[in-house]
């Protein structure tokens, strides 16, 4: 054990809360588990600025994968390339491949809107639609997909809210505006909204950074539960959070070229206890970042 400090304790706590998850960490390198997403030689630019340089990694299905690293290391940019949200930035460009069930989402005939339905996203700040009620917020994606039947929408809204652990808190307030909820509830509403369209993968871009510790823990619990049905990728600048919730962790760092590089990608437990790369060790032991 080269690593000391609080991290192992945190991990024990995570294991206690989720006994099932313990010992089941996927091995991203060995392909023991089906890859839900395969990223091959991916580079991303903003105009001329290279933000992510040549990243390759497999994301195991039905697991939580964390992307950690200091600010500006390209982790948010990387996650936004997975469902083609990156291209909304001005002059954004991507090279390389992102394979979803063997199909490159950047292939010419691929409709990015269809990709985003299969790879949902939860953002840093909760962003419920301010003009819509709680139920309508969850139903928004269904309507985009052409679901018309009121009964079906009602069922799916209920299911999604239950999966997002919000149903009991809002079941009597479904008609109230979504923005009337607290920050943590709003973020769970956004998770319910993402779940409702039946995605395979849910990307979470620092989903707890605007929340208090109690709300954060609730979301983390939720993530573990959701991993049974979905594949979850979470960007976080909080190492403890990565240790608590994820099965595999990817550590990214800005190189001397100013672009983000993938330094190390291993099962979370191994990465935090036996980092192979000197830079990973420096980061997780708090020597920088």
């Amino acid at each position: 054990m080269r690593n000391t400090g609080i991290l192992p304790t945190e991990q024990d706590a995570a294991r206690e809360r989720h006994p099932a998850a313990a010992g089941q960490a996927p091995e991203p390198d060995s392909q023991a588990q089906r890859a839900a997403l395969r990223v091959e030689n991916l580079s991303a630019w903003y105009g001329r600025k290279l933000a992510v340089a040549d990243v390759s990694l497999d994301i195991a299905a039905n697991s939580v994968t964390a992307l950690i690293g200091p600010s500006g290391c390209g982790k948010s940019t990387l996650i936004r390339t997975f469902n083609r949200m990156h291209e909304f930035a001005p002059h954004a460009r991507v090279e390389g491949r992102v394979l979803l069930e063997g199909v490159n989402v950047y292939d010419p005939g691929i409709d990015p809107a269809r990709v985003r339905q299969r790879i949902g996203m939860v953002f840093q700040k909760p962003n419920p639609f301010p003009t819509l009620s709680i139920a309508e917020n969850v139903a928004a994606g269904l309507r985009f997909l052409g679901v018309r039947s009121r009964a079906e929408i009602g069922d799916r809204v209920e299911t999604a809210l239950k999966l997002a652990a919000l149903w009991d808190e809002v079941r009597n307030d479904l008609k109230k505006p979504g923005i009337a909820l607290s920050g943590g509830q709003q973020q769970r509403l956004c998770i319910a909204r993402a779940i409702a369209v039946e995605p395979e993968i849910i990307l979470m871009d620092e989903p707890c950074s605007a929340l208090d510790p109690v709300a954060t823990l609730k979301i983390e619990d939720l993530m573990r539960g959701l991993a049974e049905r979905y594949t979850i990728v979470i960007v976080t600048h909080n190492m403890q959070q990565a240790a608590r919730v994820s099965d595999a962790t990817a550590f990214m760092l800005m190189g001397e070229d100013g672009a983000g590089h993938l330094i190390e990608y291993r099962p979370t437990q191994e990465l935090f206890t036996r980092p192979q790369d000197r830079r990973t060790e420096d980061y997780i032991t708090g020597r920088f970042g």
Binding site: M85, R116, K125, N127, P130, T131, R143, I179, V197
Partner: protein
């Protein structure tokens, strides 16, 4: 130099406090000066107009000139019809234009169109009237309410278009991203998320433009012309409140002057009422929790 920094700076701060008081006073004065004409106009309108505001004014058509009595029912109906028609024609075009500018106008083409819209907003209303006269009235060989509404719509469009653009640009990017991340294509995102969020602001713009065109006489002079008689046929000449106010105000009879004042009061009151109703219907301000 003697004394602490605090003591030495005391005169300086005394001067600054005085300057602060002076500037605050100047600004309060500016607000008062700006509001005085408004109150004078309202006060004057009410005192002069309330006497003529009778039931007859609303329900009767004008008498033969020189015979006291009668009302301006034709002008009230005409204004309502033409302003309503102009809003119905102009608003969808203006909103489409504003959304285009906001969504696809962040480039050279957008800059050119935005400039043209601004130029259009600056065209004197009488020129708009002349334009419609040449375009519609002459070929049709007749003054019509439709031509009048068209002229009013041309005045309304640039106002509503620019306000729509501003309001659409104010919709936070995070809401668009939320819709995109659910697999919504861009047009649906604009229609279902961006526009509803911008609606209260757009409604304010429509009310602003509506108030402006309701008071316009110049563009109607050679388009709808005015009409002594009650008419709801949009392909006939039609009366309007501003036109009749003008005719009565410069006319020779005292009862005309009184009716002109009453009509002015009516116009201001009607715009106020319409604004309140429209705001109550669509204008619920959305407060986004931070």
């Amino acid at each position: 130099m003697t004394g602490s920094l605090f003591e030495r700076s005391e005169t300086l701060y005394r001067r600054r406090r005085a300057a602060n008081r002076l500037m605050t006073g100047v600004m309060v004065l500016a607000v008062v000066v700006a509001l005085v004409p408004l109150f004078f106009i309202l006060f004057y309108l009410v005192t002069k107009g309330i006497g003529g505001l009778t039931l007859d004014l609303l329900t009767q058509d004008p008498n033969r000139p020189g015979r006291p009595g009668g009302g301006v029912r034709n002008a009230i109906a005409g204004s309502a019809i033409m302003v309503g028609l102009a809003t119905a024609i102009g608003t969808p075009i203006a909103i489409g234009c504003g959304v285009f500018l906001a969504e696809y106008g962040q480039n050279r083409l957008g800059t050119v169109i935005r400039f043209l819209v601004d130029v259009m907003a600056g065209i004197p209303s009488i020129t708009v009237g002349l334009f419609v006269y040449g375009l519609v009235v002459l070929p049709q060989k007749g003054f019509t309410a439709f031509a009048g509404a068209l002229a009013l719509a041309i005045i309304l469009i640039p106002i509503v278009a620019r306000i729509t653009e501003e309001m659409v640009l104010l919709v936070p990017r995070s809401l668009r991203e939320a819709a995109y991340a659910l697999g919504a294509p861009r047009w649906r995102t604009v229609l279902r998320v961006v526009l509803p969020t911008a609606t209260p602001g757009i409604v304010t713009g429509v009310i602003l433009a509506l108030s402006r065109i309701a008071g316009e006489a110049a563009p109607l002079l050679f388009t709808s012309l005015g009409n002594q008689f009650f008419s709801t046929d949009v392909f006939q000449a039609m009366d309007a409140l501003p036109l009749r106010i003008f005719v009565y105000a410069v006319g020779p009879y005292d009862y005309w002057h009184e009716q002109a004042w009453a009509m002015s009061l009516l116009l201001v009151g009607a715009i106020l009422v319409v604004s309140l109703i429209v705001r109550a219907l669509f204008g619920t301000r959305v407060t986004v929790r931070q």
